[in-house]
């Protein structure tokens, strides 16, 4: 209800005018009483407001200050809090489907799906922990969106997998393992090549080593029983390699 203009009784000089004035007042007051608003009410005691009747649309934005809220734990507020800006969050337990250190890269992410944790320099370059790689956790390394390496224990032993090879940098001397057959030192020494030049373990050497032991072949010796034995020397022989 807005402005209510009541007729001036002073202007009423005839009975007809008085009747008209009363009629105007009746209809204006009837309207006023059915359409009261803040312009027509000086003060309103909250006791007359029906319980549970104040809806959200009646509350202006930024109207409720923190001191007006009395709850022991914010968990009393069960609604989705939506977009929250906070300076500091301290908590015993925080559960969330997605937590990130930044909206842009680089950042770290925690997620309840897919990779539970990841560190990203970009969307294509990152490391991630897969909680269930073949049933066991695995640490995966991605480059340009492609998985290039992985550490896992799916087989009960520690597996270090490098697609396209693994470089081990030791500081003083580095080791690259492009493939099993190629372990290369920083100076270019190739372990395969070097091993190729070594005896193979478990493989017997070729037959060799025949010798007379310093006793000419055909020399006859008698034992204590007087039996003769003819010296044939040491024959060709081989050795098993470890």
């Amino acid at each position: 209800m807005g402005q209510v203009i009541m007729p001036s009784v002073q202007g009423s000089t005839t009975l007809e005018e008085v009747k008209n004035t009363v009629a105007i007042m009746i209809k204006e007051l009837s309207w006023l009483l059915n359409n009261l608003d803040t312009r027509n009410v000086n003060e309103l005691n909250a006791e007359v407001i029906t319980a549970l009747s104040i809806t959200a649309e009646k509350i202006a934005a930024d109207a409720i200050t923190a001191e007006k809220i009395d709850v022991n734990e914010l968990s009393a507020i069960t609604a989705n809090l939506g977009h929250i800006t906070a300076g500091l969050i301290e908590a015993v337990n925080i559960f969330g489907s997605y937590i990130a250190t930044s909206k842009s890269y680089p950042r770290c992410e925690m997620s309840s799906t897919g990779n539970v944790f990841g560190a990203f320099s970009s969307a294509q370059h990152y490391i991630a922990i897969d909680p269930a790689y073949a049933g066991t956790p695995a640490l995966k390394f991605y480059y340009a969106g492609l998985e290039l390496g992985r550490i896992n224990n799916m087989s009960g032993v520690m597996d270090i997998v490098g697609t396209g090879g693994i470089d081990l940098y030791t500081g003083s001397d580095n080791l690259r393992i492009p493939s099993f057959g190629r372990v290369v030192s920083a100076t270019g020494q190739n372990l395969g090549v070097e091993l190729d030049g070594k005896a193979t373990a478990g493989i017997s050497t070729s037959m060799s080593g025949a010798a007379n032991g310093g006793i000419p072949i055909g020399t006859v010796f008698k034992d204590v029983n007087g039996v003769n034995h003819t010296w044939n020397g040491v024959p060709l022989h081989s050795h098993a390699q470890n």
Binding site: G2, P7, K19, N20, I24, M25, I26, K27, W31, N35
Partner: protein
């Protein structure tokens, strides 16, 4: 009135004034002695003196059926059956003009807020805005609007085809789409069981009033949160152009059964019983052409009666004396500029009221009294003398006639003068008339400016 005395007095003087107007509400013998059964071109402006009405002069000659006159930014405008025009020197320049002529093209116009913009419609033309030089079409306004008014910083429109009252944005006459519930636009539905559609719209007594043929609806509130249309009275209006407000805070409007006055509170009061013979003849098919105006003292009303399609009779109502008078001219629109009334005519004239004649022609006037019986219908009377206290201007004429009976009959002229003196005088008219019946009537007529203060009749019982 002096009654017959018990003594055998032969004569008695009877003094009457004649300035209480025409009265057709009851039989002629029942009306007051100061009322009349017929009158033309006289009024009660100098009550109790009866005088010939003010004259008029031609203010401007345009063309066609002038159904709207107004001023905007100090310039005269008028609307006729072809378009809306503004005065430029001695000629009229089209603001908007159709290619054809249609007498049913009735213009409504209003200024908004500070009066810097003019808005007009005719029932089919999209709302137009005019600032004195540029004409703009307000395309978002409701189409086919026929009635407009402004109230509480909003513009209101209604038309003859639906039950909607549309309101503009707050202080925005060109905003008819904003949805804001406080400052925005909207439509209010006003339905009535009789199926009638709006016939008029006006802002009065702090409310917008929408009329239908048989109902009056008042709008309460100021925005969409509290607008409420109430229907306090089953009195309607048959012509938006008949709605007129006076400076005394009265609203006059023409309903199907007569003229009503509304003061904003009590039930509208019908005031047209004294002219009911005219009201009964209204051609309801063309009732929307009936039009009213006021000069502050009188409310003027032009009716479309009989088989006419545009106004063919003009009457006026004395706001102080509550009496009705009949004019000889026919006005088709009215406009009060200051204290001067202007009216349009069906032949393109815009007349300015004032002076003692009509464009130099003396005004022809007449009045017929009720049938007098001097409260005694048992005897016949004889009129021995008539004294007329009157002020007849130089060049004006006056004649007195009488007739027996309550109606019709032959008028017998008993006095005439062709030139007045310009002074108040008591004119003794020595006649001896023996009325053949118990009733007799007087007719006074003439030309030019005349003021009749009173009539004194000297009567005697015949045979006494």
């Amino acid at each position: 009135m002096k009654q017959w005395t018990a003594s055998p007095e032969r004569t008695k003087p009877v003094i009457v004034t004649l300035a209480d107007g025409i009265n057709q509400s009851v039989e002629s013998i029942e009306i007051k002695d100061s009322q009349c059964t017929a009158v033309v071109n006289m009024d009660s402006f100098l009550y109790p003196t009866l005088q010939v009405r003010e004259g008029s002069t031609l203010f401007s000659q345009h063309t066609g059926y002038i159904n709207r006159i107004f001023k905007f930014l100090g310039v005269w405008y008028c609307g006729n059956a072809r378009g809306v025009y503004k005065q430029s020197g001695a000629s009229w320049v089209a603001v908007y003009e159709y290619g054809d002529t249609n007498n049913n093209r009735l213009w409504d116009a209003a200024m908004f807020f500070d009066g810097s913009k003019l808005y007009f419609i005719d029932g089919s033309l999209q709302l137009r805005q005019y600032d004195g030089s540029t004409l703009t079409t307000l395309g978002s306004a409701p189409a086919n609007s026929a009635f407009m008014t402004t109230h509480a910083n909003r513009f209101y429109l209604a038309n003859r085809a639906d039950n909607l009252l549309s309101y503009s944005g707050l202080r925005l006459a060109d905003d008819w789409t904003s949805p804001n519930k406080y400052t925005g636009t909207g439509k209010i539905t006003i339905e009535t069981p009789d199926g009638e559609k709006p016939t008029g719209l006006v802002s009065f007594a702090n409310h917008v009033i929408l009329f239908k043929k048989y109902t009056l609806h008042e709008l309460f509130g100021e925005d969409s949160t509290n607008f409420e249309m109430k229907n306090p009275f089953n009195v309607g209006c048959i012509s938006d152009r008949s709605i007129v407000q006076t400076t005394e805070g009265l609203l006059f409007f023409l309903a199907s059964d007569g003229i009503y006055v509304y003061m904003g509170g009590a039930v509208p009061t019908k005031i047209s019983d004294p002219i009911q013979n005219y009201i009964k003849q209204i051609n309801l098919t063309y009732a929307q052409h009936c039009v009213s105006g006021t000069d502050g003292r009188f409310v003027y009303l032009s009716l479309v009666t009989g088989s006419a399609t545009t106004p063919n009779v003009t009457l006026k109502y004395d706001l102080q004396r509550h009496s009705w008078w009949v004019e000889s001219y026919v006005a088709t629109s009215f406009y009060l500029d200051g204290q001067t009334l202007y009216y349009g005519t069906a032949d393109g004239k815009i007349m300015k009221v004032g002076g003692v004649n009509d464009s130099g022609v003396p005004i022809t006037w007449s009045i017929e009294t009720k049938p007098f019986s001097e409260s005694d219908e048992t005897v016949r009377k004889a009129i021995h003398r008539i004294w007329l206290v009157a002020d007849i201007e130089v060049g004006s004429t006056l004649s007195i006639s009488y007739a027996g009976g309550t109606e019709s009959g032959t008028w017998n002229q008993v006095y005439t003068t062709n030139n007045g003196t310009g002074q108040i005088q008591s004119i003794k008219i020595p006649v001896i008339v023996r009325t053949p019946e118990t009733w007799y009537r007087l007719k006074i007529n003439g030309t030019g400016k005349v003021k009749i203060h009173r009539i004194i009749r000297e009567l005697s019982r015949r045979g006494s």
